[in-house]
Symmetry: D2
Subunit: 145 residues, 4 copies
Amino acid sequence: MSHKLKMTAEEIAGFLDAEYPEMHEGGQTIFVETVDHAAISTRFKAGERHLRPGGTVSGPWQFTLADITGFVALLAHLGPVALAVTTSATINFLRRPPPGDLIATARILKKGRSLVVVDVSIAPAGSADLVSHAVLTYSLPPAKQ
Amino acid sequence: MSHKLKMTAEEIAGFLDAEYPEMHEGGQTIFVETVDHAAISTRFKAGERHLRPGGTVSGPWQFTLADITGFVALLAHLGPVALAVTTSATINFLRRPPPGDLIATARILKKGRSLVVVDVSIAPAGSADLVSHAVLTYSLPPAKQ
Amino acid sequence: MSHKLKMTAEEIAGFLDAEYPEMHEGGQTIFVETVDHAAISTRFKAGERHLRPGGTVSGPWQFTLADITGFVALLAHLGPVALAVTTSATINFLRRPPPGDLIATARILKKGRSLVVVDVSIAPAGSADLVSHAVLTYSLPPAKQ
Amino acid sequence: MSHKLKMTAEEIAGFLDAEYPEMHEGGQTIFVETVDHAAISTRFKAGERHLRPGGTVSGPWQFTLADITGFVALLAHLGPVALAVTTSATINFLRRPPPGDLIATARILKKGRSLVVVDVSIAPAGSADLVSHAVLTYSLPPAKQ
């Protein structure tokens, strides 16, 4: 995984804005945070609509965050592949997240010709205690290979 | 699984409205459809904000639908257990859903003292061709046992 | 899924014997049971080496059974594709199996050009109470498509 | 996760030998390699019976290795809990393993009162390129808590 990354954080944010504007419906909450060889991560700024009773981010929103973060890692490594689709995902909810921002960090497990597998860990900003962990598989369009 | 169900479709809908009002933020889209021994199902009426390019329901919204439908099945079988939480989920996205309503159908795989495992199949209304399939695990609070 | 099946139970058993002889190392324990449109299933006859304390089949052997049964379903629907490989699997262990044979029943969830997704339910012979449930994804070789 | 480990590599190996002698049926292949705060890992020495055509370790044996390695991590962190059982597992097979030993490395994602979630990465000895990756959940007996 030591090759050159194909897109910067700014390029990925611009690509997502242009291709997936519905992502920001109701106000943007997921922001590309870091894209370099040390880490690929996003930040989730929760609003009222994402919270379950007790002020914590709901499971489906954590899933959304994991899915987008894995896609950010795919873009960083492969460049602007708009037609990649998520084919499967497993998420483990480990503990109730405290109030405040969440940071999702991605790690590419496999970068194959047709499948990309990404590991995503979600923790509160400034903490190493995971609140959830996901593994997602994305399928690449054959024409781009 | 032949015991009496503990809540009706109306009771479950009322319980979700009262306990999880944030579910309907932006307009209600998930409706309890059927709760009887033959089937437990919900209906997803997609609005603009749920759609990906091409007019199809996004993966994260399919995940949300699966998570709520599994919880509806748990409520039907166990009664109003507000403190059950999703501990893990695996979802396979099988094909791009066509425009229109989706029906999610739940089947309880295990009803243990502390864990409930539910299988959820999602298909377009009126079709048997699955668009996605999920298996979800819910943890029950110890005090309720 | 109403098309004609491509292989019979006997043809699949012969194919497995020829291509995967190591499957029967230590004595054959997995047998193709039924291959028709109503059901695709295998039978696991446990020997001493598969049992955990208490006389029940170990989790890894249940995984092996699920993996082979999904592959049997793939062969039945696609014909003799020796180069298909399992790319991912999720298994839920639902309860401790009682002593005796297990029956694993497969259902194809998706039959795509490059990925096949299969649902496998494992229950004691003569019972409908599942002991485990798995969803497996197989990748097909591009040349065969 | 900075607390003192409860068992050494030798104690865990002795515990497994005593409680799960069937693990070594046909000759021991899985060895506790390292148990300290830097890493918890096992080594798989493949014999003929574990190999698929081409001389590579089969998927079910990789699953077995992941399951045992997660259990080794659980023992290291919790002490000798014989009655813990695997409740679910997701495994992604990333690439065909080359011939030779495999090293499986475990990382505890959650250590709850009733559920322990472990991440296991499998790579050839001396390599960082994963051949498979699993996340496993173990359920603890209530009496031991």
